[in-house]
Symmetry: C2
Subunit: 404 residues, 2 copies
């Protein structure tokens, strides 16, 4: 009988706590093998300071609440363990593991978090520790390799697709020519921006242009395409990843230039959407606005994908099952066995192969002119946004789990 | 037997089409009195150009779809009829009404639209026309007088409350001190920003400060309150109306100053949230970000309030019933007969008394220090965000109504 430790790390998603719930639920099914269930407060960084929370005996209702609660319930961190596995921080950590009689450690996170899992499991090997370390994937960016997709992406993609469609319906109410530029999260990988294509209701529908960071952005070509699009449509929606850049790799948001300073003399940090809004206004003199979808992309529960929430919980419970079977240094991965009907199984991948890698949208899934995504992407992404969860409500809002 | 004409005007809401659906449904119940059902394309402005759409015989399924479709289905406009009732535009309009054998005109909109209803009905009186004109309220701003509230406010309030709560949960995941400033729509009236208070889950919960345009904003006091709040809390959420201003009436967003120019030499237009973000960073040197909730506030369907959607439809059908009873120059208004249980009836008010007025949040509902709202506001607003509609889905997204 050993105890379990679970932590969350990196930016949260709409389903990061569903994975936590999956870990707790699965652990509770193994009372012979797993004793207490501890949570790291604020990831490995908080744990190092001795901040833990005892989750043992959490009620079924509270576990259910985790499924539709955004933000990291346990608290998160952005802390990387040192590359040198002999660094004294490892001894400190393993002493703490021993004090708490930990046998299983689960870490819910993205690239950096998988690096933490990798280092902890490699250190364990060097000292002959039998603690098992399993990574549970989590990122709206969908940029982890060796998995079909990541928990968190589906819900964010659904938020993006619904919002782009709704903003399009809102904007199309007026007769005058207008451009609405929607800036979507994703610095290096364009998965989430690509999801804007899911919003189209018919051939030729908005968004008329979709720009991902996988392809260089050409401002002149962009303006020409806007002018061209106005020949057949009055209300144009353009979707851009926050990380779009020119052929030299310079981010478009950096074009704001030194002239953009605030009253304090600081450079005004605005996104590429705001820059392109100004560009269109300057060059075409028409009505234009920009919308940054912002944090709601990763924390909106009303638009949570039921598929995503279930898969996130599955990733959590699969991690527990894997650890109990003796696995360590692995990340739970998703293997898609069929697009239609959509079928998925869980597998395990070596966490060392995954960390510090980045999966981008394949160039074959981006149209040749670099302004749209292909049918292959839609076939890939559509199953991930299906289903609306039934959300218990309180005072008109989701009855979220929270700690004071 | 006369025909019916309905139009939409001003900024859309999440339920503006539910009111349209209410008009169509109610009209269909009176085949003896109402013949064809025409829609103005792009409001009275489009109608003047002869743009109409025949809605007669719209299927029940399509009418249902209107209930959960954002944006103005008929198209909208921002056009005011001339104050001079002898202006030739009125003759043009009434000629067109006659051509189409219109007996009933319904206009769904806010302040400006009620002005249109007022002028049309007064012109009708001067020429002895018996066409009946009824206004159907619509605005997320909730700033129409002589009605308990306006259709559109409840859904926007629910979006704001849920988003503020979710952003708060997202932000509270980190240990470091941070401020998140959320900018909410409402230039002159703070109703929607006040709705952020609905997001609190316990006493002392975020948002820690709520600033409405009804009260002058003091930057120094704001900074002092942030410093004070950090004594008990690490992650602070502050909500501000886009229209907050100082004691002299200068908008806070105007403080961005002339130094804020873009690469084209234009003044960078940013909201007060961005300005306050920079102010906090400059003065306190801590982690701070700003989020503009933006267009999603008025078009998000996943967070639509069922109460709001039903009331919007009710406003539409009540307008039809009123016109059939011979009323004209009126706006449908809501009369609340009880807070708990929440009960509401429809009434009629003179549209001339309503147009060009603005209902602000009563000062008694704002705390003395001007940084929060009172329990009275919560009692008022809470019933309006209740209930989640069942939304028919297609390809993972709401099966919205649309015109190509």
């Amino acid at each position: 009988m050993k105890n379990l430790l679970v932590g969350q790390s990196g930016g949260p998603t709409a389903v990061i706590n569903a994975s936590l719930g999956g870990v707790i639920s699965a652990a509770s099914l193994h009372p012979q093998e797993i004793g207490r269930i501890y949570g790291m407060r604020n990831g490995i960084e908080g744990f190092l300071k001795g901040n833990i929370i005892d989750l043992t005996g959490m009620s079924g209702k509270d576990v259910n609440r985790l499924e539709y609660t955004p933000g990291a319930y346990l608290g998160s961190c952005r802390y990387r363990l040192p590359a040198d596995l002999q660094d004294p921080v490892y001894s400190q950590l393993f002493e703490k593991f021993q004090e708490l009689d930990i046998g299983y450690v689960f870490y819910i996170g993205g690239n950096d978090s998988m690096d933490t899992v990798s280092r902890l499991s490699r250190h364990a090997a060097t000292i002959g520790s039998d603690i098992r370390f399993i990574g549970i994937p989590k990122t709206i960016d969908n940029d982890l390799i060796l998995t079909d997709h990541t928990p968190g992406f589906g819900s964010a993609a659904k938020y993006v697709a619904a919002s782009v469609c709704e903003i399009g319906l809102d904007a199309s109410g007026y007769e005058a020519k207008s451009v609405t530029i929607i800036e979507i999260m994703g610095r290096h990988a364009g998965w989430l921006t690509a999801a804007a294509a899911l919003s189209r209701k018919f051939e030729g529908d908005n968004p008329i242009l979709i720009y991902l960071p996988e392809v260089a952005f050409d401002q002149e070509d962009f303006i020409r395409r806007i002018e061209k699009a106005f020949e057949t449509k009055n209300s144009l929606i353009v979707c851009v990843s926050e990380g779009i850049h020119d052929a030299e790799g310079k981010f478009i948001c950096e074009y704001t230039g030194s002239a953009g300073t605030d009253t304090f003399g600081h450079k005004m940090l605005t996104g590429c959407g705001k820059y392109l809004e100004n560009l269109v206004r300057e060059r075409l003199g028409i009505k234009v606005r920009s919308v940054e979808l912002n944090l709601c992309q990763r924390c909106s529960i009303f638009s949570q994908s039921l598929t995503d929430a279930r898969e996130a919980a599955l990733a959590g419970s699969s991690a527990v099952e894997a650890a109990l079977k003796g696995e360590s240094g692995k990340m739970v991965s998703f293997v898609r066995t069929s697009d239609e009907p959509y079928e998925l199984t869980c597998s395990l991948e070596d966490v060392n192969s995954i960390c510090n890698q980045e999966k981008k949208v394949p160039l074959e899934w981006i149209t040749k002119d670099g302004t749209d995504v292909s049918e292959e992407f839609l076939t890939y992404a559509r199953p991930l946004i299906q289903g609306n969860p039934a959300i218990p409500m309180k005072n008109g809002l989701p009855d979220y789990a929270y700690r004071r």
